[in-house]
Symmetry: C2
Subunit: 341 residues, 2 copies
């Protein structure tokens, strides 16, 4: 079975000079993939030529005349740049030409455009962004929401848990992934009201066997790998993820301050590579009527290729269908009014 | 001027074997300090003897018959262990025997005992925990609240900003420290309602010249050192701090996985030392009628000594008096009812 991936080649800090080499490298590894490269045709063609790939039969170019810049406000992306590479790439998923889309464009714009073009999946109130982080057990920790929703009700967090569980299960081949609810302590009495009420909903799902709810987890459990999935609201998730990125960047800068520590870092590069966030690039926008993956804006070709791989896997393992089925099963009769809380 | 510090010597994961060597080392550096060591007299005396310090004229022992364990629930610390080293150490601040107290005991218990014994400062609704983190500018970032308050109103966050500003100013000798409000983006329109309303309060203070409000900051700004002080609610602060600690621990474990990476870490130890969280040990419990500092429970002697140093500095630079003055100036006529929101 062929998986078709639409790639917003203009997104991110580097555009085609990163996205196209990444796409071509991925294509070599994955014979089942076909790519639709979206962006300014001339730029794309030039970059493809550089890599002697302008006649690759598994590559199509789709021209889009505009580019959403990394600092463009959401409104500009949504209302003023209707022929942006980002939007056209998402539209290819909407009209069924592509199975999944990948963009390194700015997160707010990508989520807004995706919501507008694809609409939200039935039974889901708010799409969420699910990132993948490394952990001490050498496995991935899936964490959501990472910033799409700054005010969440227990019902929203409940849906995030379901979506995270489905994504982990499909991508990692684990039947009932463990779900942790991010909190300030592991005891049931800890936390604010939203978290406590969410725990009740998740525990009920656990008891009827539909979710594998572990209970509360704390910030350090993300990297311990205590649970497969960590659920939190977008405010907490966004701040935590950016703090982690900030710490990584800070450490790099400290290593660069002397030749001795650079030498040390060079020798320890095997270990440092393991910590390399590039391997964990590729966050899923879940809960839409179509699959969209988001790469870090600053991604290099290696990292962007990882985002494409994840998008491919998500399409191949039918994440979208599994999401619909699980949402329909776990929240079939929730009235709209209640869901909007 | 002599500063008297009461030390809960039984707190933390290691008790007297860490707290006493740390206390004695600090005492050698600081001729203006006197220490009251609180705990099981026999244990303390034995440990002091080991270090040939049982007759040091600047050391007093205060016996306390009970110990708050690291996993004791708050209720046990508060109601059942009334003669704990933690409580007695705090009581020494209350009755004026000590200028400041230091404990490595469990955070929840220490905050509860401190609130109960000392009471909250006039004009403050909720005490906060202020931690100190390293940043890329080689300065400290003060961040609060780190877990005392999981549900905060704009008014609470406003008070945290004032308290953080006073602490930074006194401890670091900076007249008007910059204040950042932790958010999911730097733009004014970003964030939830609580954060947006807090920004209005802080901006008003900025305009009248009483606080140096920088605006919104993001998670990565903590380590960039964009602002001197970062304000957030205790839920976000606790999760972020623990995630950071988790990442540090994860990295250490990765370094230990091969001799080559251990060698690299050894060579880069100068750089790694800079990142050493031990130097940043010592969080202030602010907004009480007395000064209390909290050390990390797992602190070694080097780290615990840092917590004692910070406590000493806070007392020496009159943090308590400055806090009262600033709170009185900035929220003199806030009616109680309004403050309880």
């Amino acid at each position: 079975m062929t998986i078709k991936i639409s790639i917003d080649c203009m997104g991110g800090d580097h555009g085609p000079s990163v996205t196209i080499p990444a796409a071509l490298s991925f294509l070599k590894q994955q014979p089942e993939a076909e790519l639709i490269l979206v962006g300014l045709e001339e730029s794309l063609r030039a970059e493809l030529k550089k890599h002697h790939a302008d006649t690759n039969p598994r590559v199509t170019i789709k021209h889009a005349s505009e580019v959403v810049e990394m600092d463009d406000p959401v409104e500009v992306a949504l209302r003023r740049k209707k022929d942006s590479s980002m939007r056209v790439a998402v539209e290819l998923v909407k009209d069924g030409t592509a199975n999944v889309c990948v963009s390194a464009g700015n997160t707010g714009a990508l989520m807004a455009v995706s919501r507008y073009v694809l609409k939200t999946m039935a039974g889901v109130d708010r799409p969420a962004i699910c990132s993948i982080l490394p952990n001490q057990k050498n496995g991935p920790t899936y964490m959501l929401d990472l910033g799409a929703n700054v005010d969440c009700s227990p019902h929203h967090l409940h849906q995030f848990a379901i979506m995270g569980s489905v994504l982990f299960s499909a991508m990692e081949g684990v039947k009932k992934p463990t779900i942790g609810l991010l909190n300030v302590g592991t005891e049931e009495i800890k936390g604010n009201d939203v978290v406590k009420e969410t725990a009740l909903l998740l525990r009920a799902d656990h008891e009827r066997g539909s979710l594998n709810f572990h209970g509360n987890v704390e910030g350090n459990d993300i990297f311990k790998g205590t649970t497969d999935v960590v659920v939190c609201d977008g405010f907490v998730g966004n701040v935590t993820l950016k703090a982690i990125e900030g710490l990584s960047r800070y450490m790099k800068s400290v290593f660069k301050q002397s030749w001795l520590s650079m030498l040390g870092a060079l020798i320890a590069r095997g270990a440092l590579k393991k910590l390399n966030p590039e391997r964990y690039n590729g966050a899923g926008l879940l809960g839409l009527k179509g699959l969209v993956f988001k790469s870090h804006g600053g991604a290099n070709a290696y990292a962007f290729e990882w985002a494409i791989k994840r998008a491919f896997d998500a399409a191949k393992y039918n994440v979208q269908e599994q999401l619909s089925a699980m949402i329909a099963e776990l929240m079939p009769d929730t009235p709209d009014a209640q869901r909007q809380v």
